[in-house]
């Protein structure tokens, strides 16, 4: 049985915070915790296909959202994932008032620094679980 924690970002395309969610998750699953975590395409989850349900249903999931719509958390929950942590990019961003994080296309150096912080938070949670 695959025990990797599923880490799913919103990847919102309209604001930098969606890119920050995406990049933080990718940093976590590719660099920080490749043996304990993996991501699943949120667009695939939205399809509701049987194969993606099987990947998510009953598994520990961490969602990372860039706006209050909480698309990742809602869609993972609807698909049967066990959301053990809902991370909100804006919670971390609030601690960095006045900084420019980049655009929905490209992060600035400040944006990269903040996604590293978020990735560390995600990794800590993964290490608690696994």
């Amino acid at each position: 049985m695959d025990k990797k924690v599923k880490v799913v970002p919103c990847s919102g395309i309209g604001k930098v915070f969606g890119l920050m969610a995406r990049e933080a998750v990718l940093k976590t699953v590719i660099e920080l915790c490749p043996d304990k975590s993996e991501t699943v395409c949120l667009a695939y989850i939205v399809t509701g296909d049987k194969e993606v349900k099987e990947k998510i249903e009953g598994y520990d999931c961490i969602t990372v959202d860039g706006c209050p719509k909480m698309c990742a958390a809602k869609n993972v929950t609807l698909t049967g994932g066990v959301v053990v942590e809902e991370i909100k990019v804006l919670d971390t961003v609030k601690e960095h008032k006045g900084k420019k994080f980049g655009s929905p296309t490209q992060l600035s150096a400040d944006g990269e620094a903040v996604i590293s912080e978020i990735a560390e938070k995600i990794a800590r949670k993964i290490n608690e679980i696994n």
Partner: protein
């Protein structure tokens, strides 16, 4: 007066390079295309949002941009929103091996060859936008993606 716009909807898949290319090519069209207005929507809002988001493809002639042949953006749009006006499968443009690359997914890891792939996909989106019939416009209005973008 309603402004005529074309919807471009990316899968933005997180598991492979094709998703990154679909996202960045869509962003490039939104930012750089001058001859017609374009608008996008976060795909998961079909379920997490409301009726306005689900009406997206009924309001705009919409092109889906998918990173792999699962065609999640196309299928979800047709399932939850409405008929699309065109569909792009990035894996058909950059090749399956590139599209399904799981090592290079982050923006910071992209090299010149990947930037060329983004340009190729952007060109295909622009071509497809150019082929949309003016009759496809509904004349209805949309107040922007729920995440706050326009």
């Amino acid at each position: 007066m309603s402004v005529l716009k074309v919807g471009v909807l990316s899968c933005s898949g997180e598991e492979c390079l094709g998703g990154t290319i679909s996202r960045l090519a869509t962003r490039k069209v939104l930012e750089e295309l001058k001859f017609i207005d374009t608008v996008t929507l976060c795909l998961p809002l079909y379920l997490a949002g409301g009726e306005e988001e689900r009406n997206f493809a009924k309001v705009f002639p919409t092109i889906s941009v998918d990173g792999c042949d699962k065609l999640c953006a196309k299928r979800s749009t047709e399932k939850f929103s409405g008929k699309i006006s065109g569909s792009i499968d990035v894996s058909k443009i950059i090749g399956n091996e590139n599209a399904l690359n799981t090592k290079i997914v982050r923006n910071k890891d992209l090299k010149d060859e990947h930037r060329q792939m983004i340009d190729q996909v952007t060109d295909e989106i622009v071509k497809m936008i150019g082929s949309i019939s003016p009759d496809a416009y509904s004349g209805k209005s949309f107040h922007g993606c729920g995440c706050g973008s326009e």
